[in-house]
Subunit: 453 residues, 2 copies
């Protein structure tokens, strides 16, 4: 279909007025993203990326969320995106399971911080709007390719996110429609990401690259760096590359009246979102009690086929892999009654009882199940059957995290990171973001001066 | 097939002795690459990338071939790769039409330059060997996916080249086999590239990114940054992502006895390699004379379907696009009897007579034609037919460029770039590369101190 790239560019160039609910959803997504970036910023993979900075970063003009170093704008976008997504604890666009904020948010924030340092601060409302536009493009591309794209093995957060980051940054830079098309072309040239890397440090490279690549795409387009005319719909463009039957209407339909950010959700647990109902089912069984986990003969999960496809990972050997392993999630929440960051650490994975129970898991596919629902069936050695059914897990669209939940999650991230940061002040600042004169000024407050032992 | 990533890693870790012909082919590929990097280094797209350096490069430790600036190691790999490939005048691996040197060579050279500055110079032989290994992996991945991969729309030079760059850099860093597998995973996370971007500035981003990403993959792997266990053959790894029927044996078969660098060729003309026989046919007709191009009613090209698929681009509007346009190549070589860099400039594309003749081109697919053969048929207004058939174009495997041709091409690049460089001295140094104590020391000589007006 001709004109998709141009339509997207026109939309980003001159978007319709955004309803209050959209601005609110954008702000909540950013708050959640900043929180998960703090929580993830101390991981070994992030340390190793930050170790590249002395040799490979330009002047340290920008904030690394949750870290003591500073970096140039491109590296700040890269590392903040990697931090935000490393635990897969960031947000989730329900129809596609994209994490839109990790690639888009850090690109917008880094650019806004740089613009402010050049005397051109971006107000909070404009920053949120640019972010929402980037998330919109990311998620609509995902809608057009889902579910073929992810099933083939593409890490949809990165492959679609690079376009959203480009559009969000392009919006802040005031690019013309044709420059925005150029930026889409540069995103096409740079976008990558493989499901095979999930659960390993490699994953963070594609997420970081999506944020940096999108930002760089917009910067280059602003300088007259030109690209193809139809990067999305062209014969060998993004959509054709990734699906034989892309749903073009998913990109352009109801543009400006339907907002995908309203389908964005926040996780109560630091794992793949499809594990939410699984964990909730297990935590409820644990809380109820009346059985010993050592007497479990087998565990059967019934859910949408995607649940199995994305989380059937027995015998995982790291906390990172555990976050996308139903075997670990079921076992740790049944045995220990917890599903926080500590429950998905390398240490938790090494626990013998947890490992033994995980080995007893089987899946039953049922496409009639929604993604936020699941049935768990424990078969006990004495012949008993223990059943639990979750029809709308917390954190899904049917039961979203409240602002209080979000604030609690934010404070948990600071605690996990073991840094001295004033969480209450940060949250208060972020909750007023749409009224800020400089939307990026809060970033300084995410950078701890002192690290706890 | 299990074990492909491990097999590749073992091969790179402990390769068999390389025959002299392989070393020679590696050296010739590097000479050609350095030449095309000089020739391409003054393009507007490269200027715009270099304009990012003050804000986004670390300390300027490394050489940008053909340019006055210096940059950090990652940017040097990036920009030198972009320069080397920007005119598509670099080398061509015949079975796949991959340009292996652009992603691999600059990564190796930048790393060797950095190691030398740290008191660990890489001798010329080791540098060539690392390069050959990287090219080998790049081309074997291409063989496994060809022709589905490119036909789908993936820019195979970048998508496969990032793995080669990672292996070449990993070799120089002395990575262990398991670290080399990690590096393959990081390459998987970063590799991108779309055919839709060819002929535009966007293209250079994926080529630069392939060199930089591969180098970064190796650096991170050396620091214990870990990745998936089967990045190539995994269920959602590189091969599965890009083909339903990858040819696994193409990667591991005759490893160490068959060398793909021996299938690498150098272009006599600055365009897509499939245009070589087309241009040769036209130049010969022009030289022979006996007709006026204004009397041509139609031009019919008969060749392998890939010729049409890659070069059927009527009405191109830039020199860059002209390089992959049969319409322009045929017209400019028939009308003006030339096919040098000037013939594929923006200025040449604007020529009215050339444009008019290009519009008269038609294609006839014949899969029995080899890629370096073509038939051209001119139908004249007076009813005459003028025919020419090329069965093995210069620059193909059947008629490779001689060392003298390569030196001439090298000097032409310097002339086109309009910089003061001692071409003879550079060529002489490069021809002795396998005996150099520091294989990267020549890089300084590629950096002109004074630019001509």
């Amino acid at each position: 279909m001709v004109g998709i790239s141009a339509t997207v560019a026109d939309f980003v160039h001159a978007p319709p007025a955004m309803p209050d609910a959209v601005i609110l959803a954008g702000r909540r997504s950013l708050i959640n993203m900043v929180g998960t970036a703090i929580g993830g910023s101390g991981e070994a993979a992030i340390d190793k990326l930050a170790a590249l900075l002395p040799a490979f970063s330009g002047p340290p003009t920008n904030t690394l969320i949750g870290r003591p170093e500073r970096a140039d704008m491109l590296w700040a976008a890269y590392i903040n995106a990697a931090s935000a997504n490393i635990f897969d604890y960031d947000d989730t666009h329900i129809p596609t399971v994209i994490h839109p904020s990790a690639p888009v948010g850090p690109a917008v924030l880094a650019l806004a911080e740089t613009l402010a340092s050049e005397g051109r601060p971006v107000d909070g409302r404009a920053l949120i709007e640019a972010f929402v536009l980037g998330a919109e493009v990311t998620c609509r591309l995902g809608n057009a390719l889902h579910p073929v794209h992810y099933a083939r093995g593409w890490h949809i957060t990165s492959t679609c996110g690079v376009f959203g980051a480009a559009m969000a940054a392009g919006r802040l830079l005031g690019l013309s429609p044709s420059q925005l098309v150029d930026a889409l072309g540069h995103a096409l040239a740079q976008g990558a990401g493989s499901v095979e890397t999930l659960g390993t440090m490699s994953k963070s490279l594609s997420v970081g690259q999506a944020a940096r690549g999108g930002l760089m795409a917009a910067l280059l387009a602003a300088d007259g760096y030109t690209g193809p005319e139809e990067p999305l719909e062209g014969k060998r463009g993004f959509l054709a590359l990734h699906s034989d039957t892309p749903d073009y209407a998913a990109i352009t339909g109801e543009l400006g009246s339907r907002w995908e950010i309203l389908n964005n959700t926040f996780k109560p647990y630091p794992c793949g979102v499809v594990l939410n109902p699984v964990i909730e089912a297990c935590l409820a069984l644990h809380a109820k009690g009346g059985f010993s986990t050592t007497d479990i003969m087998s565990v059967e999960l019934t859910g949408h086929p995607l649940l199995r496809q994305r989380t059937d990972r027995p015998g995982v050997t790291s906390g990172r892999l555990a976050q996308v392993s139903a075997q670990h999630a079921v076992a740790v929440s049944l045995v220990h009654g917890r599903a926080d960051l500590a429950a998905f650490s390398d240490k938790a994975v090494a626990d013998t009882e947890t490992r033994a129970l995980g080995d007893k898991l089987t899946f039953r596919d049922d496409p009639t199940y929604a993604l936020d629902s699941v049935q768990i069936r424990l078969l006990m050695t004495d012949g008993r059957e223990i059943l639990n059914v979750i029809t709308a897990a917390k954190g899904g669209l049917g039961d979203p995290l409240s602002d209080t939940d979000l604030a609690e999650k934010f404070r948990d991230q600071i605690a996990w990171r073991r840094v001295l940061l004033d969480g209450d002040e940060l949250i208060a600042t972020l909750e007023e973001l749409d009224h800020a004169i400089d939307g990026a000024v809060f970033l300084r407050k995410t950078q701890p001066a002192i690290f706890r032992e």
